[in-house]
Amino acid sequence: MNVIALVLCFVGALFFFAGTVGLLRFPDTFCRLHALTKADNLGLGMIAAGLALASGSWLVAGKLGLIWLVTMLGGTTNCYLLAHALFAARPNRAPDGESV
């Protein structure tokens, strides 16, 4: 059981690393937004699942699941707000982009 939990945790950490590399290496802000919000929330879910397995208590597992849900909700809100503000403020495509 503990081995499965550790493997889940480290796979989650790899997802976090993928998100960070995406934040550093992608050329555009939208690409970075895309990489970060998905990979990180998936990694957090896997780490939470691994820790829930390792803790061996239903109460702790439920709390970890709720924390994951709140973080995903916040991440979604952030992603939408940021992308909307960026898309509305883009510099040179404003004249032909009015139908959006």
Binding site: F16, T20, R32, D40, A54, V70, G75, L82, P91
Partner: protein, 95 residues
């Protein structure tokens, strides 16, 4: 057994350090805000691992506050300041 979780924590802290590069270098405000989002999510994961390893269950509440903190900061930034896109965004695309 506990030592393995320390390696996990160190890995997550190194992730935070890498994200700091984007805060320092990021060309627009939006990139820096994105780094706050990264810090929020990674901080939650780090605190959950710490809560397990150090056997302090109250750290899970701190993780909850962390996840709300990132949302608060980003909502404040996009609503109060707004995001400007300088022409430097296209120049950044080449690198």
């Amino acid at each position: 057994m506990g030592n393995v979780y320390v390696i996990l924590e160190l890995f997550l802290v190194l992730n935070l350090l890498l994200g700091l590069v984007r805060v320092v270098r990021g060309p627009t405000t939006a990139d820096r805000i994105l780094a706050i989002q990264l810090f929020g999510t990674t901080g939650v994961a780090l605190l959950l691992v710490m809560a397990h390893r150090m056997e302090m269950p109250s750290l899970r509440n701190v993780a909850l506050v962390f996840s709300l903190l990132a949302t608060l900061a980003i909502v404040a930034f996009t609503r109060l300041v707004g995001v400007t896109v300088p022409p430097a965004t296209e120049a950044e695309g080449r690198s």
